[in-house]
């Protein structure tokens, strides 16, 4: 956080591309031009361009230049999951959150396994929230937080944004997360708390969140109604990597 010129360049250009101020297909200034413009070195510019490329904003062509992509301006953010809630809010629909449960409990067996902790040594905050969009409950979130790391969690916080609380208030250094997505049978709780219509299955997103010291402190199970789930993935063919998969 000393200066972060590259971040500034990244944010300026990602912003212009997202708003459409920089049209898809248009050519970026060359690295040398940007270096002059920002009064910095070329490597610093390249760091910013690399970030833009990774996040699907631009595409770099050797000996030709960098070009703005049209991907991503639509269904952002790319490179991660886009829940229906985010999608909806992005296009201006409002969502509502209903907190069904918000309490400190001993660690259930299955959660102890997910959080990789000894169930006798910890307690966890359990939060169950239903997400209502356009009058329908289509997402059910079950969060579990290690209480030694998150000592207090009120219903008000859960109704607003736990995330902002963790980072803004508790200053937890959230670092990375792993998500596993699958489709599973809907259970009784799903049917009770969501408007499942006739759907017999739900999309389950299991989210494991880690701090900067690699502590796993949160496990979340997000259950989505089938028709209201979508996500976008942007994949670059990494340099010398194999990853032949689905290309």
């Amino acid at each position: 956080m000393t200066k972060n010129i590259f971040l500034q360049i990244y944010q300026e250009y990602s912003g212009r591309i997202q708003t459409g101020a920089l049209a898809p297909g248009s050519k970026m200034p060359s690295e040398n031009e940007l270096a002059r413009e920002y009064n910095t070195s070329r490597e610093t510019v390249r760091k910013a361009l690399h970030l833009l490329a990774q996040n699907g904003y631009i595409h770099k062509i050797k000996a030709k230049g960098s070009f703005v992509l049209d991907i991503g301006r639509m269904d952002f953010p790319i490179g991660g999951l886009v829940s229906f809630k985010e999608m909806s809010e992005r296009i201006g629909r409002k969502s509502q959150t209903i907190v069904h449960e918000n309490q400190l409990i001993p660690v259930p067996d299955d959660i102890a396994a997910h959080l990789e902790i000894d169930k006798d040594k910890y307690w966890v905050w359990k939060v169950i929230r239903a997400r209502e969009i356009e009058g329908e409950c289509v997402i059910l979130d079950k969060d579990y937080f290690r209480s030694d790391i998150v000592p207090v969690l009120t219903e008000d916080i859960s109704r607003e944004s736990i995330y902002e609380y963790l980072e803004g208030e508790l200053h937890l250094p959230i670092s990375y997360a792993k998500k596993v997505v699958s489709v599973e049978d809907a259970d009784e709780e799903d049917r009770r708390l969501m408007d499942l219509l006739n759907y017999t299955h739900v999309v389950v997103v299991r989210n494991y969140v880690y701090l900067e010291d690699t502590t796993l402190f949160q496990y979340t199970e997000s259950r989505h109604r089938l028709d209201k789930f979508q996500f976008v993935d942007f994949a670059r063919r990494s340099h010398g990597e194999e990853r032949k998969s689905d290309f």
Copy 2:
């Protein structure tokens, strides 16, 4: 492709981590040590470590060092979709491919839209393949390739690996891809060509593949039986990015 020291470092360490030769939790050599060891500069080492971090192999902690993560050794590759086919092959099960269709056709309306081309100006190769795993057809792939870019496509190629053909034989510079995943009603074709059991829906992965000059040349619709679909996503909290989403 001149020297690519950073790639060599990346591949050596990603290999060791994948095989378990480097245990999760263990500490990487410091950047200065690696620079000495590989007789290169620190920035080059950092490039390699950055790649390792991005792909979920290691985690860097300022002023402390880089540490091997246990994520990813299991269900690789992270940072993209992992189809059931890949998963199965990774754990030693064999899959079989049945080519149902392999022909050059005028561009159907919906495909023209997906490929963003004028339907009167092109023809496309249409390939329909069923993927059988452990005796069950659980994946149906429908591929469409612009015939001006892929002039020839035989059934043999489709049965083996179209991907290897495109890169190995045609030397197509495949660059990046966008995937959109959703759950949809199974159609008559799904029921006819897959072993759908009683499932009424399928997971649909729409894949748009681009060349280095940003040409969109392939569209693939991959339809998975609900119970045989899973993927893993590894998300880093990028530097100055927002991305508050599901963290």
